[in-house]
Symmetry: C2
């Protein structure tokens, strides 16, 4: 690689962003942006299946985007760092201006959106 001293960091960074790049995970992150929540609260709020949420939480946890704390039977999840929320907000801000374009961005993404 001619670009970076360590191409590794690029892969890490890509994997990091992948945490934000799925609608389900993003829903979870946005939800946690409003405060710590248990798994079942997340399941209810998002409408996703329990196993699905649990898998995504595992992914987000491994990536360091969220932290978990067991309390009794429940596990409370929260954004692990203030900057995770900042990233969400910055993206929101940018998105407000480029949203129109993103609709068109189907090259490496969804082929069509049926219900709209």
């Amino acid at each position: 690689m001619l670009l970076h001293a360590n191409p590794k960091s690029i892969e890490i960074q890509a994997r990091f962003f992948r945490g934000f790049s799925d609608p389900s995970r993003l829903m979870i992150l946005e939800f946690l942006h409003s405060g710590p929540r248990t798994v079942s609260e997340i399941v209810t709020a998002t409408g996703l299946s329990q196993s699905n949420v649990s898998n995504h939480l595992g992914c987000l946890r491994d990536c360091g985007l969220v932290s978990a704390e067991q309390q009794g039977r429940f596990v409370h999840y929260a954004l692990s760092d203030e900057r995770v929320g900042q990233l969400l907000e910055l993206a929101d801000s940018l998105l407000a201006d480029v949203a129109k374009g993103v609709y068109e961005c189907t090259r490496y993404s969804v082929k069509e959106t049926a219900n709209d």
Copy 2:
């Protein structure tokens, strides 16, 4: 959806982040972070194939992350907004602290890393 008023915005946001979530696109974005470049400069710098770069640029352009300007035979690409660079920097900053974890994040990601 019980979470957001418009689930649509979540999908858009996820698609937006997908722009950052691939090593090749990230290389391109990081490269453009240092200033506007032509396609061939990007091809040389990244070592990616021309068609591959062009496809990714099309994706990034549709998503509003980069802008293009034709000058003669060349097309000059640049980050479309200051905040795109800010996002990269914020991610870098966060990554410095959670990088160890991201290595472990193979749940919805790479199964193994052969060459290391």
